[in-house]
Symmetry: C2
Subunit: 373 residues, 2 copies
């Protein structure tokens, strides 16, 4: 783990760059906004730690009413439980004895659940839970349209739920129903339609479970792009959004209710860079590239500088093009970039530098960075 | 830093996934091949540590004849010098008192050089070197076609070299002349032409320095895609390739001398994944996505499995499509992926798992992972 790139109390200009910066006012606004939304909608909020990878943030979300955290990896669950988080759902299938044992060990200290989409995975996990003398929560992942993991809705989901219900060491908790592919559909109408399709699949499955006397306590899923539709469906009772805390250009690009810009949440996440070279009047090079932000969604956006655009990204450099109306940039100037995709960007850094009123107010370790197993 | 994903001596099947795996035979072949090439061509080899970020690899390259290492960041230079590397070139401009002081401190233990493309940067760096009582090597970065950093060839380069030569604390070493944009041009003819253009710019500058009685000890640059042209030019006397140790799909795609595939070096770098779900006969999901390999160059290639293709990448998942001639995949099967871009992929991991003859032979910490400042 690298050293923190700033000291508490320092002005922004003294932050060593590139650095991952969080505008704390915007960040807290985002946390409150989704927390208030969930409370009013009468659904539980279980924010996704795969995005933030940081217990300091998990604890803030829980203090605002979240029921716990979800995550994708056993290594993330380990970081969360060691930090005192008492309710963790691994919203993913877990394969292999080693990983299952690590997860079972965590169930000694916290309520732990995971997802299933194969019968043999149920049998293996039940055996490990019994071996460790713990009970693991078990959700059936239903493919509600993303065509990634998950069983098909209806009979296949019922069969797996029945197998879980009859497996000592496992407790059937409900359905994992996340439509990942719907999150970034370009218009609100397309996202609404996709979740309507997912809802039909969920309804069919919940009804079938009910007819077969299997209690379905949880239907959990949803993301930053669609949470309002799952909440309004009357089916989902738990939301798993993660990016809402930060936003990114990939979310900002999708259309909102009243505009072409998705503005449910504010941009709170930035990569702070420094201009390291100004080789021409219309070109400035900043000291952050692919190792400071992910770019599979394209170059980052330049924040707060008129007529300046990021036009090229290499491993350690960002190339800015200054248009005719741009204020000249000089060596040493700071430039805030909005990353294309928050999750993999955060996973590049060891520290969040929280800023407010022009100075560093918080340094939060990204303790689950690199926790890929 | 996460724990190593394997134990020395374990079979490949026991490596916790996703993991960054190095085929040691292929890796050693690549190191020897470029080392032998440089020796025969009569040029120095200074491999780029921005790619590998690992002192264990740097020491192997030096044992095979490399004169030292180059890197892009002060943080990388710190890791190298602390591990005993005695000659480090930061092939990049460094801005800011804090970073310059860190670099000057390293010059107490090693020969350290950096690049310049602005007069005020020369003045600032000279002052820091004198303050620390050290001498820093100084290269003028010339823009030879990449249009990123660097001064223009000819008079601007001469003026900066003269300023360096008259600045106590700095020692003018020569020219940094790297054509990054040429590395991935799709045909060998285009790459040859680009380096011919770069060579004209270098020649003009070297001649001008000579006429002004400024000794130009080094002309350094080149990468995995073009090294043969710089070596043959009679101008460059030092090569800075990095990716050659590993390769990736982005390099493999460019045309070679006798084929459409660039095959100067073998693929030695893989992300080992496990099949975590097989939801349909033509679809398998592996447990590695954007946090295990970078995908700004597209999805990874599937290694060694006929008619299986990676068609989707999300944060923690890779989606494989099995064609009609594919052998069925089962939960728990291991799949080796060839990353699109080696540098940012390596920067996601804490460990190289070196394999040979089917088992784990080496665990090398990626000590400069995340060293972005």
């Amino acid at each position: 783990m690298t050293s923190p790139p700033a000291r508490i109390g320092a002005p922004i200009e003294e932050i060593d760059t590139p650095a991952l910066v969080v505008d704390l006012d915007a960040f807290e606004h985002n946390l409150r906004k989704l927390s208030d939304f969930a409370r009013k909608a009468g659904v539980r909020l279980r924010p996704h730690a795969k995005t933030h990878k940081c217990p300091a943030i998990a604890l803030r979300q829980i203090a605002l009413g979240a029921v716990g955290q979800c995550c994708q990896k056993v290594g993330e669950a380990e970081v969360l439980v060691r930090s005192g988080i008492k309710d963790v759902l691994v919203s993913n299938e877990i394969v292999g004895l080693n990983k299952l044992r690590r997860l079972a060990a965590l169930a000694k200290d916290a309520t732990v659940a995971l997802c299933f989409d194969a019968a043999e995975q149920v049998d293996e996990t039940g055996a490990v839970a019994r071996d460790f003398g713990v009970e693991l929560g078990a959700l059936v992942e239903v493919d509600v349209g993303a065509q990634r993991c998950g069983v098909l809705p209806g009979e296949p989901a019922l069969a797996l739920a029945q197998r879980i219900a009859s497996t000592p060491g496992l407790k059937f908790r409900g359905l994992q129903a996340y439509h990942g592919a719907a999150q970034h559909l370009p218009s609100i109408a397309e996202r609404e339609k996709a979740i309507a399709g997912a809802a039909a699949a969920v309804r069919q499955t919940v009804d079938l479970l009910k007819r077969n006397a299997i209690a379905c306590e949880l239907v959990t899923g949803a993301g930053t792009g669609t949470y309002q539709f799952e909440a309004a469906s009357g089916l989902w009772n738990e939301l798993q959004a993660g990016s809402y805390a930060f936003m990114d250009t990939d979310y900002a690009r999708i259309g909102g209710r009243d505009s072409n810009r998705f503005a449910d949440f504010e941009h709170s996440l930035f990569v702070l860079t420094t201009v390291m070279s100004v080789p021409a009047a219309d070109r400035a090079i900043v000291d952050g590239g692919l190792k400071a932000y992910s770019a599979e969604k394209g170059p980052p956006w330049v924040h707060g500088l008129a007529d300046v655009e990021a036009v090229g990204v290499s491993d350690e450099h960002g190339k800015l093009k200054l248009g005719p109306n741009a204020r000249p940039l000089r060596r040493g100037d700071k430039v805030m970039l909005i990353p294309g995709h928050c999750d993999p960007t955060i996973n590049l850094h060891d520290w969040y530098v929280g800023i407010r009123n022009g100075r560093v107010e918080a340094l939060w370790p990204i303790s689950a960075r690199g926790a890929v197993t």
